[in-house]
């Protein structure tokens, strides 16, 4: 299984990276920070709403019509927003039995090629998700005055953020984040 992040290689800034690399890294860190806040918010909303439904049902004989839909929305957001953080940490599982037989240079090259292809996939899904979100913009959720595109916006943000991380790993190497 892939376990890239545990190797403890130096981060780009520590290895005297160029200003462009440092700026890109700052951009990624800002995106990660924003995404961290949104994930926390989504997880809080999800837990709060599901618990509130149980409490309302058993103690007040009532329920919120929109709680199910919004909690699912929060779940979709939390999962898709967390996906790029998994890429950064290198925890998305893969089979590395074969590539571990190769020399370090070839292995790194192959991993970068796979990440580059993955980046291309993210761009394609991003483009298609934008088209789907545009098309569904006028369609409202059954219980809330909110466009169903809200679900696809999570996919759009996730694919864009994941692409940025994949591009950085391809550009700077798979050990660039080290222990971060």
């Amino acid at each position: 299984m892939s376990n890239r992040v545990l190797d403890g290689a130096p981060a780009a800034e520590a290895s005297g990276a160029s200003p462009l690399v440092r700026r890109y890294q700052q951009l990624l860190k800002a995106a990660d920070g924003l995404s961290y806040g949104l994930i926390t918010l989504a997880m809080t909303l999800m837990t709060g709403l599901v618990t509130a439904q149980v409490v309302l049902r058993y103690f007040f004989g009532d329920s919120l019509d929109w709680a199910d839909e919004i909690s699912r929305l929060a779940f979709v957001w939390s999962i898709f927003l967390a996906l790029p953080h998994g890429v950064k940490k290198g925890i998305h599982v893969g089979i590395d039995i074969l590539i571990n037989q190769f020399g370090a240079g070839l292995r790194e090259g192959l991993m970068r090629l796979m990440l580059a292809l993955s980046g291309a996939l993210m761009l394609l899904v991003l483009w298609q998700a934008i088209l789907v979100a545009q098309e569904a913009w006028g369609e409202m959720m059954p219980t809330v005055e909110l466009s169903v595109s809200a679900f696809y916006i999570a996919v759009i943000i996730s694919m864009a953020h994941t692409f940025l991380h994949l591009a950085f790993l391809v550009w700077q190497g798979t050990h660039v984040w080290g222990d971060e």
Binding site: N3, M43, T47, L121
Partner: protein, 426 residues
Amino acid sequence: MVLVSIGIFFVLALLGMPLAFALGFSALGAFVFGDIELALMPQSMMHAVDSFPLMAIPLFMLAGEFMVGGQIMQRVIDFANAVVGRVQGGLAHVTILSGLGLASVTGAAVAGASALGTTMMPSLRKHYDNGFGSAVVASASNLGPIIPPSAAMIVYALMAGSSVSVGGLFMAGVVPGIMLTVGMMGLATWMSYRSGYEPTGEPFCWRNVLRQSRRAGVILLMPVLVIGGIVGGVFTATEGAAIAVIYSLLVGLFVTRKLKIAAIPGCMFRAAVTSAVVGALIAFAKPVTFVFTLDLLPLHLSQLIQGFTADPMVFLALVMGMLLVVGMFLESNAAYIMLAPLFAPIALAYGIDPLYFGFLFVMNLVVGMMTPPVGVLLFVMCGISKISIGELLKSVWPFIVLQYVVLALCWFFPDIVTALPRALGY
């Protein structure tokens, strides 16, 4: 389309692409080859994750994070130590019982190994060989997907369709989970005796047991409340998971008082990122399963297998054999997602009890997580304990054999799996 899809997946996966993205490419290839609208990619990905039952996974993970962050585990460990700490291999027994306690909240093996390894390994290393300590932690962590709640069973039930209930699968895991726990404790005693390990805990004392049970009571009540609520139909698995989150949060904040408000966002973030690994697999696998359905693969596969044998036991043996091999090489969640939608309907057509089949399916892959060459738990433990896989294997193999023995018993005596859920009305 199916052949294109499978071909692309295997080539990219073997070249080291993360499995989730290899699945995405496999779907893309089939979409292009079959001239299918590409807009179906994000649509099916989003719909795959937009699932209320699936929400239980990050919530149980979050409850586990709060348990670790609030040092709730320490009280469970103290309680286990008071009960079994003095017997031969006492600390190993404490680890196994603590693993059981953790399993009844988090439902995941890797997260459990990380939590249990970090908590128990320093003490285990003081008294035992590093390999033995790591073997005990890995085995105890593997109770996570067997003892309810189980993230693996939630994923399986979702992928297998409406024939199997999450609550029923949870209950199917209780008796085999207890058998595994007792077996592991027996093995730990025998191995400790052979290695000449001295007893580690304080002498058994009823007063201490009572004191520790009072301290741990509020924690031990949590799985009873949550699992009891799910099985009793008071709430769904997802609602039970949310209750577990609130419960562990309150215990961490007000009972142990070790969980800091500032640590809560970090717990939420880690739970989300861990769940996103499964979420990504599910999202990218959905367009692939759509292609399989479009090409009538489940039907063709069913006809092929039924043409080969009409005997359900032969079919079961074939599936078990295949899962044994798959489990050794492929991450278990990827296997549930890709294989459960194909084989669960065929098992139903053979008249095999869906709970029985589902449990064997899950347990086979769970045992695979500890089986070389790609036993993910073994690698996680090597990372935590800083030992080589060879050193770990020297101590862990009896535990692996034990798990296969219990799996075989469940296979040949279906009542071990089905009696409890049937008695409870599933």
